[in-house]
């Protein structure tokens, strides 16, 4: 607001000259603080009421249960209620203090606005994150949280509350099933997995092939979900693919994969001056392949984490089981650049890593090629695959794959998502790259015998 030479008569002066500050601090400040707190509390109260109203009335078609039946949501609403009541009680105490001023009055008045507005932010954030953003907003996406399987070290309502995303089936007004979104499982090894999959889910929505996403703590749990039909598609690591095949009697198919997941190699890297010069015995010279030039960047930690889960048996495929046990116990694996220094400073004699990591870390200086060299490598293998049960509905699968393959790196709108997921193109799935791993798993008796 601009005032330009606004003439104001003496009759409009509310204070004597020099007394404006007194009015600001003595008259305005207490009321502004108290009133701002009240605005925040009112907003929080509205969020509590709207949330209660919604979870009480919205019902799942399938089970005829209401959202209020979910203990996680009830716990969340309790938290919103307590936060709101606490701020309102604080404001009541501020008002008492204003009416009977004491040494604490000034501080309490100053606290009031922070208390009320922070409460509004926190309570609406809870409602937003746990109810509205999960799609419970009336008239918007109909997605409902379901309790997630508790992970071993992340049990408890709080942790579960953060992790599940599930959307009930869209139904026609008459209640007739219109189309059932395919349910895709992913392992949440890092909170950002949920961010990536939120983006991917929005992409599938935009493609007209909506999906549900279910997050799991472990690949074992995810395969439970795949084989029981709880999910339709599992974003599986190599070991998880082998395990799914093992448990289903080869009843699964690999339908899609990243370009960057084909023909990978795991290296064992050791200090040139260190004790490990070769993994093939002292009589054979260490292989020292030159670092190949590549335009690929270091893998995202997502795929790196997959590598960590898959690298041990992959490596044994190269060693053919003849590696001495003393050597294998000294090998660590570096799935991320932050773990590399630990790998080199501890007493590990060598470190296993994916070829793309080696190349990326040589390029960015994380690894000094004058100090370290590759002392062994696996055969080429393939990495993560989207895994489905043999009997997945072909038309649903085709619609899903059509949408997936419509994701193009040359489309700027898709690029962020593909960079996050670490690929340039989605390719059809293939299983030819899992031979060495399958053999190694068998020879190492890596998995316990199938229970069935």
């Amino acid at each position: 607001m601009t005032l330009s030479n606004v003439s104001v008569g003496a009759d409009r002066a509310l204070t004597a000259d020099g007394k404006g500050l007194d009015m600001m601090l003595g008259v305005v400040l207490p009321l502004f603080q108290v009133g701002s707190a009240a605005v925040g509390i009112g907003i929080a109260e509205a969020a509590v009421q709207a949330t209660i109203g919604h979870v009480t009335h919205a019902r799942f078609e399938e089970s005829n249960s209401s959202l209020a039946d979910l203990p996680t949501l009830r716990a969340q609403i309790a938290r919103m209620r307590i936060d709101t009541d606490r701020a309102r009680a604080h404001l009541g105490a501020v008002l008492d203090s204003l009416e009977s001023p004491g040494p604490a009055t000034q501080l309490m008045v100053l606290e009031a606005k922070a208390s009320g507005t922070e409460t509004a932010a926190a309570v609406t954030e809870h409602g937003d994150a746990d109810v509205r953003r999960r799609g419970l907003r009336r008239g918007a996406r109909h997605r409902a949280p379901v309790p997630r399987r508790a992970g071993a070290d992340r049990d408890g309502a709080d942790e579960r509350r953060r992790l599940r995303v599930h959307r009930p089936r869209p139904v026609r007004p008459g209640g007739v099933l219109m189309s059932r979104p395919l349910k895709v499982g992913a392992v949440m090894y890092d909170p950002k997995v949920s961010v990536i999959w939120e983006i991917i889910r929005d992409f599938f929505d935009a493609q007209g092939a909506p999906i549900d996403v279910a997050f799991y703590s472990t690949y074992e749990d995810q395969n439970d979900g795949l084989l029981s039909g709880a999910i339709d598609i599992a974003w599986n690591s190599p070991l998880a693919w082998v395990d799914a095949q093992r448990r289903s009697g080869n009843g699964c198919r690999a339908i899609a994969m990243r370009d960057t997941d084909r023909d990978r190699i795991s290296y064992v890297v050791a200090r040139r001056s260190g004790p490990v010069q070769t993994l093939d015995g002292p009589e054979r010279a260490a292989r020292l392949p030159p670092a190949r030039s590549t335009r690929r960047r270091p893998r995202s930690s997502r795929s790196a984490a997959c590598a960590a889960r898959g690298s041990a048996p992959e490596w044994t495929s190269r060693s053919g089981g003849s590696t001495s046990s003393s050597a294998s116990t000294a090998i660590t694996s570096a799935a991320s650049a932050t773990r590399w220094p630990a790998s080199t400073q501890g007493d590990a004699a060598a470190c296993a890593m994916l070829d793309l990591n080696w190349e990326g870390w040589i390029k960015d200086g994380t690894i000094d090629a004058n100090e370290f060299s590759i002392v062994g490598e696996t055969d080429r293998f393939d990495h993560c695959v989207f895994t489905v049960r043999q009997a997945l509905d072909p038309s649903a699968e085709k619609a899903w794959l059509d949408a997936l393959f419509a994701m193009r790196y040359d489309n700027p709108a898709h690029r962020e998502m593909m960079d996050l997921e670490g690929l340039k193109a989605w390719l059809p799935g293939r299983t030819t790259g899992f031979g060495p791993l399958t053999a190694a798993v068998e020879s190492e008796r890596f998995f316990a015998p199938a229970s069935s």
């Binding site: 003439s7 605005v39 609406t124």
Partner: protein
């Protein structure tokens, strides 16, 4: 939790009823369009609530911060934008009430629902230190002054009937004055701050310029 007496409870109940009936149905549109909630403020005025803190001697309800908190809470539950506009009005009224000999007509107009007040404290140069204005008022005799200032974060800018401004006179001493500015024809520019959008009070987001 506000521990209101009977009279205060009646006022708060009236405010809740008016807000439920007149404000809530408009709140979503007001927020979506970031439109100044003129009709909602008029509804508060019609029920005497613009005079909530105006002394009874000037036709108001003569209430203090306790009732104000309860009423603002009730209003904010139905329309946060209106609640912020209303809060800044009450702040302006508090300044008037501190100088009743000069502002009696304004207090009476507010009690009758015909005057919306606000504060214009912050300035571009003072940033959030609203208590330290940088603008100067130049004296023109008889205590009258001429003010030039860039006021920021003015809730209800362009819609209020009275603005309480602070400026400096002579050295760095602040003085507060009431301004009766003509309502500009055009809408004010509006800033949009992340968290504000979520809380449904976009329409009260003050003009930045």
């Amino acid at each position: 939790m506000y521990r209101l007496n009977d009279e205060q409870q009646r006022i708060a109940a009236t405010a809740a009823a008016v807000a439920e009936r007149e404000l809530a149905p408009r709140a979503a549109d007001v927020d979506r369009d970031a439109a100044f909630p003129r009709d909602s403020i008029a509804a508060l005025g019609a029920s005497g609530l613009l005079g909530l803190t105006v002394p009874k001697a000037h036709g108001g309800l003569g209430q203090g911060p306790r009732t104000a908190a309860a009423v603002i809470d009730a209003v904010a539950q139905r329309c946060p934008s209106t609640a912020m506009v209303y809060l800044m009005h009450l702040c302006g009224i508090a300044c008037y009430a501190a100088a009743p000999d000069k502002t009696a007509p304004l207090l009476e107009a507010a009690a009758a629902g015909r005057h919306l007040s606000t504060l214009a404290f912050s300035e571009k140069g003072s940033r959030s230190h609203f208590w330290a204005p940088v603008s100067r008022a130049s004296g023109s005799g008889n205590g009258a002054v001429s003010i030039s200032a860039q006021k920021s974060f003015v809730t209800s800018a362009g819609h209020a009937d009275g603005y309480v401004v602070v400026d400096t006179v002579g050295r760095r001493d602040a003085a507060a004055r009431e301004l009766d500015l003509p309502r500009p024809q055009r809408r004010r520019g509006r800033g949009s701050v992340g968290s504000v959008a979520r809380t449904g009070s976009r329409a009260a987001t003050p003009a930045r310029r």
